[in-house]
């Protein structure tokens, strides 16, 4: 029997508040950031516990971007989110 492949899900740091305009405020550290509309779109999906693979598919549907470019950009973006402690951890 084959088990279903596990999907990576990101969790937003509970102390982070995100406004509908893409302003991010980390209430624990006082740091704040601005997201562009694509970044906000991705964060909204992370907030809904959308697996990373599904986020990629959704972005490919909505934006004019090649899968290769998206892979790199999304990896960079998620790396930054982790670095800034906006994303807390991943679950497989």
């Amino acid at each position: 029997m084959f088990s279903k492949p596990k999907k990576t899900v990101m969790n937003l740091n509970k102390m982070v508040a995100i406004s509908e305009n893409g302003f991010v405020f980390d209430a624990e550290t006082g740091d704040s950031y601005s997201l562009n509309p694509a970044g906000l779109n991705i964060i909204e999906m992370i907030k809904k516990h959308t697996p990373v693979e599904d986020i990629k598919n959704q972005i490919l549907k909505e934006y004019e971007v090649t899968p290769e470019t998206l892979d790199k950009s999304l990896d960079d973006f998620i790396w930054s989110l982790k670095g800034f402690n906006i994303v807390e951890k991943e679950e497989d």
Binding site: M15, A27, G30
Partner: protein, 350 residues
């Protein structure tokens, strides 16, 4: 039906609302915001050009008082005169350098009917920057290693052990970071020229600086506490803007310090949170800080609570505040007349 406000006369120092501001004006604003008191505010000033003296909407009358170096007897004599004119109910000193004199004078002031709510001499002494190592040990707190020194020669030994950068601090005021021997020596000379020796050398802890304003009731209970991170810092290292934080551990740490020291009065904790999430206590300032009005804006009127504690009234204990409240300082040119300055210069009151 609305309850009538109680008339009260409060005297406060620290009217130097300049680029390195004293806490007097923010403390006064908190008291003026009180829903229970109708305060008359008496400003106590050391210099003719302390801006608060001329802020008539906040300060009803101002008097010169002698510098702390004149001693508590001279201070008491002056306050006797002012009290005769104004019938002061509560006095709030707001400068570190004057606190000792006011603490010494507090008994006599109490006999005169002027209430204060200050740390005890023991609390005041043990939290001195020079005693930080012992303070950390006694209360199981992380503190950067600090050494009190009286000569430049000691810089090299210290830096060999703790490596640059290091902090060079005055006993009461001023702090500079130094990245090499020359910078450390220059900072030490600057501080010593202004405040004298000893000077304190302190290990540098890398991380985010956070601050807490808090109030202790002197029985081990925390009346309130608000955490803040500076968003904009002046070249003097002072906060020009800051935001309230939701950092439960920081508030718990403050509660522990207040609980274990039975802290009496206002305080400001300066803390570094390092990358591993450890909190290092850098300093305890034994009074409300100049950014205390942020706490008022976030829902904790700590200056009002301080007045109540001084009067022996029941105090509401604050257990929450609004996170994400920001303060931004600004400079403002007041226009006054030379006659005002003249009155203050000639009669020591305005």
């Amino acid at each position: 039906m609305k309850r009538k406000k109680t008339d009260i006369t409060v005297a406060a120092t620290g009217l130097n609302n300049v680029d390195n501001p004293g806490p007097g004006i923010p403390v006064i604003r908190g008291i003026k915001d009180s829903k229970e008191f109708n305060p008359r505010i008496i400003g106590l000033a050391y210099e003719n050009l302390e801006p608060g003296i001329y802020m008539k909407e906040l300060v009803d009358k101002s008097y010169h008082i002698p510098y702390p170096t004149a001693g508590s007897d001279v201070l008491i004599k002056r306050l006797e005169y002012i009290h005769g004119e104004e019938k002061i109910n509560v006095l709030i000193p707001n400068f570190d350098a004057e606190l000792y004199t006011f603490m010494k004078a507090s008994g006599k002031l109490g006999e005169m009917g002027i209430k204060t709510f200050l740390p005890t001499l023991e609390q005041f002494e043990e939290r001195h920057k020079a005693n930080l190592n012992e303070f950390g040990k006694k209360y199981s707190l992380y503190v950067p290693y600090s050494k009190t020194v009286v000569s430049e020669r000691e810089i090299k030994n210290f830096a060999e052990e703790y490596k640059y950068p290091i902090y060079v601090k005055g006993k009461f005021y001023d702090a500079y970071s130094a990245y090499d021997y020359d910078e450390a020596r220059e900072a030490m000379n600057k501080i010593a020229a202004k405040w004298g020796f000893p000077v304190i050398l302190q290990q540098y802890i890398s991380g985010n600086e956070v601050n807490v304003v808090a109030l202790g009731d002197g029985k081990g209970n925390m009346v309130g506490a608000v955490a803040m991170r500076k968003l904009y810092i002046t070249d003097k290292g002072k906060a020009w803007a800051g935001v309230t934080l939701a950092d439960r551990k920081l508030i718990e740490l403050t509660e522990k310090v207040i609980g274990e020291t039975s802290w009496r009065g206002g305080m400001e904790l300066e803390i570094i949170k390092d990358k591993d999430g450890k909190y290092y206590l850098l300093e305890i300032n034994p009074r409300l800080p100049a950014w205390v009005y942020l706490a008022v804006g976030a829902g904790q009127n700590l200056p009002e609570a301080l007045v109540k504690l001084a009067l022996g009234l029941n105090v509401e204990h604050y257990d929450k505040y609004e996170v994400g409240k920001i303060f931004i300082r600004y400079s403002y040119d007041m226009i006054t007349d030379i006659n005002e300055f003249e009155k203050l210069s000639l009669y020591a009151e305005l």
